[in-house]
Structure formats: structure tokens, C-alpha cells
Amino acid sequence: MAKTINLTLHVWRQKGTQDKGRFEVYKAEGIDTDMSFLEMLDVVNERLIKEGKEPVAFDHDCREGICGACGAVVNGRPHGPMDKTTLCQLHMRRFKDNDTITIEPWRARGFPVVKDLVVDRSAFDQIMAAGGFISVKTGSAPEANTVPVRRQDAETAMDAAACIGCGACVAACPNASAMLFVGAKVSHFGLLPQGRVEAKERVRGMVARMDAEGFGNCSNHYECEAACPKGISVSTIARMNREYLSSELAE
């Protein structure tokens, strides 16, 4: 059952944000096809450490596709070739013996490279702080079943809320735009009755912050949707556009 393959990796190495960076070539030999992509990198890194070299830095944590920490552009696709799959859930059985794999970090002005494949995504936190919430103070909530929520709305809100904040949408967008991330959050809250109260302030605040963080503009390529490991729909962007316009008109 277990099969092993040999790979050639072209990995982006960059010492720090100011460093120019370059590709380095590594051989990854005897890779078990049952390994995850990150386990393959672990193996490569263990060998690098043993050789006294610096291992490839990459963010990762839960390794089950939910924390959103991991991610790299593999052969031109954020999170690699498998649809709706984070890098940690990509397994090596997707690759063939003697494949060459190019591994790059998310590239966007809004996500400066920290080191190698690690980027700084704190811009997403800043966007959240600018309106990605419902301002209910602890203890002031009414009984949970006071306001029924249409099941369809709750489901669509959940679809949008499934965002893991990994940033693949930005990485995939030809314009490095963060619209899918912001659209997902605006949609999640905007679809629920409890989120309507602050809907106008939310969309304006989050969009202003998104722009200030240096992301590009949406020009409807929909690469974000194709790259999203959680399959978040670009209809969330449409909803945000609509909410934005109505918030502007209401001003």
C-alpha cells in the first residue's frame, strides 16, 4: 500500500522581510505517498537540520485544515492542486514520482514575507477589528431562541462563516485583493438578524481598513473562489458590494 516517490523541490527562501529572496532546489527522496504535504516538508527539514542548514520556515498548526495557519503556493496554486483542500490536508499521493514542485509564499503587499514561506497576515486581524463583530457585551444577550432565524439564512451564513482566514484568496487573486475574506465576514453577519443592526458601519469600516492595508481591488476574476479551501462563494462579494452601496446611499 505504501508507495514512495522522489521529488525535486524549488523552494522560496527569504531570510527576512527586507531580504530579496531566491529559489533553492532540494531533493526530497523516499517520500511516502500517504504523507501530507507538510509532513513531506517536515522530512526535508529534518534532513536540512541534520546537515546543519536552516530548515524551511512555514506556518502550520492544527494540520487538520481548520486553523488557517498553513499555506503556500504550490505549482502556481495556493494550497496546491487539490480543490477545497488546505496545504496540510494535501497528501503526496497527488504527486508522481520525479515531479518537480515549486513552492512559494503568498505574495501580496498586504502580506509581507516574514521568512521563507511565512507571511504576516495581521492585516486580516486589523480588518476584523474594524467591524468584523457584533457588539454584544458579555451577559447582555437575550434568550437564544427569542429571535428565530430562517434556516436557509443560517445555513448561508454558516457557508460564509466557514472562512479560516488563511489568505489563499489574496494569494490567488491577480490583484492580491482581500474581497473574498471581507465579503465572507460581511455576509456571515449580514445574513443574521442580530448582525443587521451594525451592518452599515461594519461594511464601511471593514472595506476602509481593507483598502488601507494595501490589498488590490476586485476585478471579478473569481480566482479566490477557486482557491478557497472552504469553497466560499464569490456571491459573498456580491452581497458585500450591495451592502456597501446601500450603506453609502443611506449616509
Binding site: G16, D34, P55, R63, A69, T138, A157
Partner: protein, 636 residues
């Protein structure tokens, strides 16, 4: 010596009367106090947000790049609450009783009752925050049943309940960060505590981006740093989850309670290779519609579909007819291991049993099953390459949660004044075994509804703003952290941190896992110092301390696991009874089931650190049960 400060009075009035009596901090004074919160999972994020809302200045720290990545996010199944929406007889008392019984009568009555009491408020709070819980067509909230309970009381958001609850708490946290009432410190790892005049007054952190080690002072320190299941190397925890924050607190005087209490989760994807970096859990909600079985004959290597019904052993249904596949986690796990140890395990390694949803697929149809579990089936296929709609899943137990943690009193304060411990990092509510869907409950209960009250009782008598990083204690602690980091870098040996970690993990899984024996534990106690000794002699960490260095981060965490492991085994050795998830092979009934020993072990084991290389001292907090009758758990 150990005063749990449990309020007097009838169980159901304790929390209310306590809240009415404890000291309060005047609203105008709250802004004069600074509170450090370490960890931004459910407990940390909810606490930081709630404290900031009340007016305290909060500094929140996490080692991840964003507070939203904390491992609470990975919890799948749900959160319990005693709403009784399904009208099936649930109540605060029943949730309390189920939790205390599930914990095999090794938790505090008063804490557990309070947990059940505040559960409903948590659901209200989360719904108001916009957590998209599953709903019925009526628009009202849906519930499902979960292991260890005979009522449907679990609220859920598909298979991503932890994610949605964490994002709720995270959004509250970011709201306050935006207002400036919380200062976020992401990518900051806590390396040590600072104790001034016997009180917790600050922490030392290392900025993971630059390597800068700095001191932070506050009037109180809140630890919400999660559990230590990664001591086993392979666990369902996130890769970076670690024991450092609580272990450092322990070394500075906080007692560590019940370190041997670890939960082994029954429904994980089996191990498949040496390179494996972690184990993946699938929500045990699968057990609602799945049947666990092994072939009746040893070494039956036929495909599962080729094994006829009468040659399958549905061992949980057979042994526990009342609860069947929904027995508590420890029973499900231990029985699976037992079947595998008898040679009936399936899969390439023989370390797996089937979890079969075939019958439910037939009964409910593919659409219903897809709606309930599609993300789990997808996850299973991604990892194993197998389609669970066609063949039964294979599962095996894996370390998942740790009930042990820093000892805290009823106010969630450790014996070190000013140090509060929340969520999985404390020991308080789950006894020797945690009930499914109660971890999320406890994290949020501690953070939203308990600490914001109880911290006031401590702060009210502290003059505010007295903590200052200029105090020599801060300088010393900072220096020690710098030295230690330097020590890890200069060994320049031959083995990576992961190699030591794997070695430690294997040893603990064998000797201090679901079932333990005195000789095995003693053997582990001998071997751990040897691994530790080699670690400090033969570790290899490339790079420097003044940069982003993930190997260095790992090395520091493994170093603490190596110290902590000794205490964990020591505690397991001391507890000669079988209880909850801890099967002590010497302590069993004639039928081979776990035998609890209430006469000798109805206590909380709280360990005091006495210095490196010296025996820790055991303090016992007796568990008094006024309300419940100590029954033998019977799920037959």
C-alpha cells in the same frame, strides 16, 4: 493547606450567593488595572474580551500569528447546554450529574454545578454574537445527542462548532482590540512568569519574529494556554500546543493538579507511518449514526463488506447494551484498544477498528448522512484516500484532551495569588474523564461568565498599577529566559527536537497511556531523565535566537515536556485506582472493568514543585460529595 474556597450553602445556590458576596472593583477603578491574558482560545479570547468590556486594560498574548488560530478552533462536535429545547427532560441538574458521573466522580461538585448553571447563558451569548448554530426549519435552534448523555443537549454548527465559537470570541476580542482596550501581542511565546512578593505580577515573552525577549507587568495574570496532550508527541492537538506556560507557572509555585488525567479520544484516524506528525480526530458525533465493530475472528483480513453480519462483533453494543456506541470516551477507547490487543484489529497496522455508517446510510439515506457528516467524510478521504460512503471508516483512539492542569480554587485562581487559570489549562471541571461537548462549554464558561466576576474579588484588594517591569524580579526572569534560549542554541549536538519528542511520546503512550501498570510507570520514570539528559547534551538547533526560528521554538517546548513528563508519570504511579480514562491494570473488577477506589483516591492530587531534581510534594484536596451519590459508572 489547599483551600478551594467553595462557598457554603446548598449546591444550587452556591454560585449565586458567591456572586452576591464577592468583592467588586468600582467601575471607575477598573481602568487602573492591567490584566495579562495568555492564550486566545475559547477561554482566553472570551476572558480578554469580557474583561476589556468591563473596563480593565488587557494585554492578550498568543504564539500564533493571529488569535483566531488557537486550537479550540478544531473542536468539531458541539457544546452542551441545559436549555432543554427538545423537551426531553434535561435540566441544569442533569447536565451537572452527567458531567460529574462522566468524570468518574473525580471533580468538584460545586465547580461542575456552576458549569451546568452558566451553560445556557453561553448559548445566548454566542447566538447574539452571530455564531451560526444549526437550526430547524422553524428557525429555532437544533440539538443533537452526544456520547455519555441520554438527552439531546448539544448545540452545533455543522462539524465546525469549535471554529464558530472561537470566531465568536475572537471577533469580540478584535472589537476590543480595535477600541484599544485590549492590546494584542500575536507571535509572542510566554517563556516565564514573574512573581513579586508571592504574587503573579507579569510574564516574560519571546517575540517569535525577532527573538526579542521582553517583560510585561500586570496586576493579574490569566493563563488560558490549553492542554498538554502533545506530551505524547502524536495527539490530536495542534502541532504547537504545549505545556510551557503552565509548567513555568508550576516551577514558580503554582500547584499542578492531576497531571496524569489525559483523555484518549476514541474516533481518530489511525496512525499510518513513522513520519506522522499528528493524529486527526473525527467528531464522535459519528458514533450517533455509526456502529463500532471488529471481525469476530482474529486476523480476518477480508474487506469489511465481505465479512457477513454474523461474523462481526459489535463489541460496544454487546458489552454496554444501554448506551451501545454512545458510551463515554474512555470506555470506547479502551475497548477498541482491547480488541486490537487481542489481535482483532483491522487495517494495515492492526491498530484500528471499524466505525460503520452503512446501516444509517441505508436507513436515513445518503443526503441526511451527507448533511450531518460530509466534512468528516471528506477529511477522512483526504487523509486516507478511502471513501467512507463505500467502506466503513477505520478509527483508533488518540490522546486528545488533558483534564489535569494547574490547580485552581472556586475563583479559578491558583495557589499563586494573582494567577488565574482557565479552560483546559486548569484541572477543575472534568474529573478523570471529560464528557463530549463539554470542553467548549468549560472554556467559554470560565472566560465569559466566571473569571470576569471572580477576578474582581482578587483585584479589589490589590492597589492598582503597582506592578512595574523595573522591579528586579522582572530583570532576573528575563535574564533567565535569555540564558535558557542561549543554552538550547549552543548544545550543537546531533538530534533534532522532534526526535526527542517522538521518543518521549512513544514511551508515554506505552507506559502512561490508556492503561498503566506500576512496573511500566516505574520504568518510564527511569527513562525520562535519560532522554532529558541526552536532550541537553545532544540537541541540534540551527540558526540564532535573534530571528524567526521554529526549531528553537520547538526545542523550548520539548524541553518543558521532558520535565513535565516526569510529574505526569509520578502522578499516575501515585493513583493506584482505575478511574475515568485511566485504567490501572492492577485495579479492576472480576469482569475486568475499571475499579475505582473511592476510599483512598477521592481526592485531587495537587503537586508542588520543590526544585530541579527534587521530589515534588503531593497535596491532597479531598473531594466531598454532598449532592451526588458516588455510584459506579454503569453504562451496561
Amino acid at each position: 493547606m489547599l483551600d478551594a474556597k467553595i462557598p457554603a450553602g446548598p449546591l444550587k445556590d452556591k454560585w449565586t450567593s458567591h456572586k452576591n458576596k464577592i468583592r467588586l472593583v468600582n467601575p471607575a477603578n477598573k481602568r487602573k488595572y492591567r490584566v495579562i491574558v495568555v492564550g486566545t482560545g475559547l477561554a482566553g479570547a472570551s476572558a480578554a474580551a469580557s474583561l476589556a468590556e468591563r473596563g480593565y486594560n488587557v494585554d492578550a498574548f498568543c504564539f500564533q500569528d493571529s488569535p483566531r488560530r488557537a486550537h479550540s478552533i478544531a473542536a468539531q462536535g458541539g457544546i452542551n447546554a441545559a436549555k432543554n429545547y427538545p423537551n426531553d427532560g434535561d435540566s441544569v441538574y442533569r447536565l451537572f450529574y452527567d458531567t460529574i458521573k462522566g468524570g468518574d466522580f473525580r471533580s468538584r461538585e460545586a465547580n461542575v454545578y456552576r458549569l451546568a448553571e452558566v451553560s445556557n447563558g453561553i448559548i445566548d451569548q454566542c447566538v447574539a454574537q452571530g455564531v451560526p448554530f444549526a437550526r430547524e426549519y422553524s428557525g429555532y435552534l437544533d440539538n443533537r445527542s452526544f456520547g455519555g448523555a441520554q438527552v439531546s443537549r448539544t448545540f452545533y454548527a455543522r462539524g465546525q462548532t469549535g471554529q464558530q465559537l472561537l470566531l465568536g470570541a475572537y471577533s469580540a476580542l478584535m472589537k476590543d482590540a480595535g477600541k484599544g482596550t485590549v492590546t494584542m501581542h500575536p507571535r509572542a511565546e510566554m517563556l516565564d512568569h514573574v512573581v513579586v512578593d508571592g504574587k503573579a505580577k507579569g510574564i516574560i515573552t519571546r517575540c517569535l519574529l525577532t527573538g526579542k525577549i521582553s517583560a510585561h507587568a500586570a496586576d493579574a495574570v490569566v493563563l488560558a494556554t490549553g492542554g498538554y496532550a502533545n506530551v505524547f508527541y502524536l495527539s490530536t492537538n495542534a502541532k504547537a500546543s504545549n505545556v510551557t506556560a503552565v509548567w513555568r507557572a508550576h516551577k514558580k509555585g503554582a500547584f499542578f493538579a492531576n497531571p496524569c488525567y489525559t483523555q484518549i479520544h476514541p474516533t481518530c484516524i489511525p496512525v499510518h507511518g513513522d513520519y506522522q506528525s499528528k493524529l486527526t480526530l473525527m467528531s464522535e458525533s459519528l458514533r450517533n449514526d455509526g456502529r463500532v465493530w471488529v471481525p469476530k475472528n482474529k486476523g480476518d483480513s477480508r474487506r469489511p463488506s465481505a465479512i457477513p453480519e454474523n461474523e462481526r462483533d459489535y463489541f460496544l453494543e454487546r458489552k454496554y447494551p444501554a448506551f451501545g456506541n454512545l458510551v463515554p470516551r474512555d470506555l470506547a477507547s479502551r475497548n477498541a484498544k482491547e480488541q486490537c490487543d487481542q489481535g482483532k484489529g483491522v487495517g494495515p497496522t492492526g491498530h484500528a477498528v471499524y466505525l460503520d455508517l452503512g446501516e444509517s446510510l441505508g436507513r436515513l439515506g445518503r443526503d441526511v448522512i451527507r448533511e450531518r457528516y460530509d466534512n468528516l467524510f471528506e477529511m477522512y478521504e483526504r487523509i486516507t484516500g478511502m471513501d467512507a460512503y463505500k467502506e466503513p471508516m477505520m478509527i483508533y483512539p488518540a490522546p486528545h484532551y488533558t483534564m489535569g492542569g494547574l490547580w485552581v480554587d472556586y475563583n479559578l485562581m491558583s495557589n499563586l495569588p494573582g494567577l488565574f487559570v482557565l479552560g483546559e489549562a486548569n484541572f477543575s471541571d472534568h474529573g478523570a474523564n471529560r464528557l463530549g461537548a463539554s470542553a467548549l462549554l468549560q472554556g467559554l464558561a470560565d472566560g465569559y461568565f466566571i473569571l470576569p466576576y471572580t477576578i474582581g474579588d482578587y483585584l479589589a484588594v490589590q492597589p492598582p498599577g503597582k506592578a512595574d517591569t523595573g522591579h528586579p524580579a522582572f530583570g532576573e526572569a528575563r535574564e533567565a529566559a535569555v540564558r535558557r534560549t542561549g543554552d538550547l542554541l549552543k548544545i550543537n549536538g546531533k538530534k533534532t527536537p522532534d526526535e526527542f519528542h517522538r521518543e518521549l511520546g512513544r514511551l508515554l503512550w506505552e507506559k502512561c497511556g490508556m492503561s498503566r501498570r506500576e512496573d511500566g510507570l516505574k520504568e518510564a520514570l527511569k527513562k525520562i531523565p535519560a532522554i532529558r539528559e541526552e536532550f541537553w547534551r545532544n540537541l541540534l538547533v540551527p540558526g540564532s535566537g535573534e530571528e524567526f526560528n521554529q526549531t528553537l521554538e520547538r526545542a523550548g517546548r520539548v524541553a518543558d515536556f521532558l520535565e513535565f513528563a516526569g510529574l505526569m508519570v509520578r502522578d499516575a504511579l501515585e493513583r493506584k485506582e482505575s478511574c475515568g480514562g485511566h485504567f490501572r491494570e492492577e485495579s479492576r473488577t472480576p469482569e475486568g472493568e475499571a475499579l475505582r477506589d473511592d476510599a483512598n483516591f477521592a481526592y485531587v492530587a495537587a503537586w508542588e514543585f520543590k526544585g530541579a531534581g527534587r521530589e515534588p510534594v503531593l497535596h491532597k484536596e479531598p473531594l466531598a460529595f454532598e449532592e451526588v451519590h458516588l455510584a459506579t459508572r454503569n453504562y451496561k
